[in-house]
Structures are given as C-alpha cells and as structure tokens.
Symmetry: C2
Subunit: 231 residues, 2 copies
C-alpha cells in the first residue's frame, strides 16, 4: 500500500485476467500466471492469499469500473431528461456499452475481461455470484426504475426477462464471437466493435420494445399484433 508501490500486484492481475479468459480459471495454474507476470510464484499467495481470492480481486477491480461507468451514463441521461422517460436506446447504451468498453491500464486487457465476464456468467457454482450481484445492485435498481418509466406497458416480470435476454446476447457476443466469424465464413468481423455494438443495440431495443401478448400466443401472433405502443 505504499505510494510508490511496486506494480507486482497489477502485473499479476493483468496476467491472470488474460490467462483466465484464454484458458479458464481451473485450467490456469499459478505458475502460468506468475511466469507471464514476470514475478515469483510465491508472490500471488503473498498479495492475494489464494488463487480464488485473486480471481475475486480481479473481478472486483473490473466490476467497480463497470459500475462507475454505468452510473455516469445514468447521471448524464437523468440530467438530460429530468422527469421525462429516458429513450430506450440510451438505457441500452448505459447497460451494454461499459461491458464492451472496459478499458484497462494495459492495451487489450479490456478484451480479456470481456471474455472472462462471459465465461463467469455461465458458471453457476462460482464463488463470483455474490460479487456479480452485489457490485451491480445499485445500478440494477436505478436501471429498473428508469426502464419501467420508459416502457410502462411492459409488465415488470417481462422487463426482467428481456433485460436478461439482452445481457445474454451481449455476453455471448463478447465471449464467443470467434464462432460467429467461423460460421459466417468471415462475413462477420468480430473485431469491428462499434459495428457490432450498433447491431446489438438495434436488436436489443427492438426486443425490449415489442408489445406483450397478454393471452395465449400460440397461433399467428405477429401478423395481427400491430397495435402501436403508447409513447
């Protein structure tokens, strides 16, 4: 905790972030991390006590950045729109843009964490559930209030599901876009972050806005459901 503290800790965090994203948590050894970070094997246990707490420290670091960026965007939008509903496009931007653009001190470390985030969301028994939930709680409540005001005709339960689907599409596009490139035979370029984000935003906005069908929707649901939303 010195003011001129050596950056051993950060070196370890950066290396671990990259390797966990590439190989997964279990498949990455402490030796691989310390070797990549250029530090001694024992340094990890000295600074972080254990491998698991290294992972937690790593996530806490990024999730605080993520949360802060989201909050800043919400601040700006609420200042801009006051008591009027914030457009869905803006809300979606506050939700997903910070996930896509997590920039770190080191170049390209953001991509590593994006992939890692996708990995970790798919790991039910991880010790990170608590961290994922608690670090996001503040934003989640604020976002919930805002989106309910912007989409008053969508029932709250459906809103939760839809935001959940939106996050799934986002995480998947962060974590597995290499598959898209293969399956599209190169037509889609995952490295075009901005283009992908625009397409993703359009997809999500449409999904969030679509009117709900109150009753059974088994038969021919779309052709006739052209009732325009209020607002």
């Amino acid at each position: 905790m010195d003011v001129l503290m050596t950056n051993t800790k950060d070196n370890i965090l950066d290396a671990a972030e990259r390797l966990f994203a590439e190989r997964g948590y279990e498949a990455t050894s402490m030796r691989a991390i310390t070797s990549a970070a250029g530090v001694n094997l024992a340094a990890v246990n000295y600074h972080f006590h254990s491998k698991e707490r290294l992972l937690q420290a790593l996530f806490t670091r990024r999730l605080e950045m993520l949360n802060r960026k989201r909050m800043e965007l919400m601040d700006a939008y609420e200042a801009e729109y006051g008591k009027r509903p914030i457009p869905i496009e803006k809300l979606v931007h506050a939700l997903i843009e910070p996930m896509i653009d997590i920039t770190g001190e080191r170049p390209n470390s953001n991509k590593a964490f994006s992939v890692l985030l996708g990995r970790m969301y798919s790991s039910p028994h991880s010790s990170l559930d608590g961290i994922l939930l608690s670090d996001i709680r503040n934003f989640a409540e604020r976002f919930e209030t805002a989106i309910r005001r912007s989409l008053p005709d969508i029932p709250p339960e459906d809103l939760y599901w839809r935001v959940f689907f939106a996050l799934g599409a986002t995480i998947h596009s962060l974590a597995s876009s290499h598959l898209l490139q293969k399956i599209s035979r190169g037509l889609c370029n995952p490295d075009d972050r901005k283009g992908a984000q625009e397409k993703l935003t359009a997809f999500i906005v449409a999904g969030l806005k679509t009117p709900t069908n109150p009753g059974l929707m088994k038969k021919r649901l779309s052709r006739t459901a052209k009732t325009d939303r209020g607002k």
Copy 2:
C-alpha cells in the same frame, strides 16, 4: 457393442454430463464421475480412452439429438409452406426449442446439458469448437437459406449477427437463469420453461425483424424510425 450391452457407458455419460454442468470440465475429476456413476475408476479410460474424449463423446451424443430435432422441425415447416417464406416465429422455434428441450434417457438430464452447452459456448479454446460447428453445419445452411427468404430486407451480415444474438440470449437463459431469479427477487421463475420460452421467442422475433438503419444511427434513431416494416 453387444446387443445386451451393459449400460456402464451410459451411466458414465450421464454422470459426466451432470457434473461437468455443475462444476465445469476442469474442476470435475474422473474419480468424481466414476463415483457418481457407480462404476470403477478405470472404466472411463477403458470406454472413452481419456477425459477429453469422454467430453467429446458426450457432446456428440447430444448434438446429434439437437440437430435431428431441428431438422425434423424444418422438414415440417418446409412441407407446410412449400415455396412460401416460413414465418419467423416458426424459424425461431426450430432454432431454439430443441436447445431448451433436449430430453435424455434419464429424468432432468436435459437441464444439465443445457447448462453445459452454455458453458462450452463461452470457452474459446475448447476442443469442442469443431464439434459444435460441424454437427450444426447442415442445419445452419438450411436455416440460413430459409431466414433470408423470410427476411429479404435484412442484409445477410446483419442476419448472421442477429441469429448470433438470439443464440446468445437463449444460451444465457439456459446457463445462468439462476442469477435472474436472484436479481428479480423471485419475480421471475426460471423453472417455468414454457413461459420463459414464449418470452424469449417474442424478444428474438422482434430483434430479428427490426429494420436496419443504413446510414449513421448515432442521433435520435427511434422516435423518427417509425416507418412501418414491409411484410
């Protein structure tokens, strides 16, 4: 390969499927698998040669079922609509329903594989990429042709991206719905498969259908983009 063959192999596959889904591949030991399956430790290497090939065998088994179900649905829809475009709802159904409803010989084994599938899609360096891609290739080409005919105004690249987002939302809802239950404080019930599938379908259909904005879409894209879709 006897006709009255012992079900040791299937016991191992079922146990491995469940444990891989719960704990992840790396974190699951051969000893845990054989113990859960009630077979001897050496049986895995005898029947599957290695842990990795056990995983591959497990995926091949399920993906063949998945592919077959998708193909059957496409058969039915193509027979029903002939040369006319198949409605998007139907195409989405053929895409996601088999992923949600992978039923196995044993009860609840389907849920395990759903989670595992979500896990594995997020693992870039997995030895499963080839299996995931090749087993799906036939369906993918057929689906691609069909959706282009049903959504002729969406550029092929955008279609790829949107189907990719749709799969992301689906996989995420399979793999991480436990988080949704927590964050919604019980309002959303992930065990209601049919309800979730309806909401997911509505979300995806809207996202697939939404018109593309050819130029820059930076400023105020939604309020004015009320141009009714063709079709």
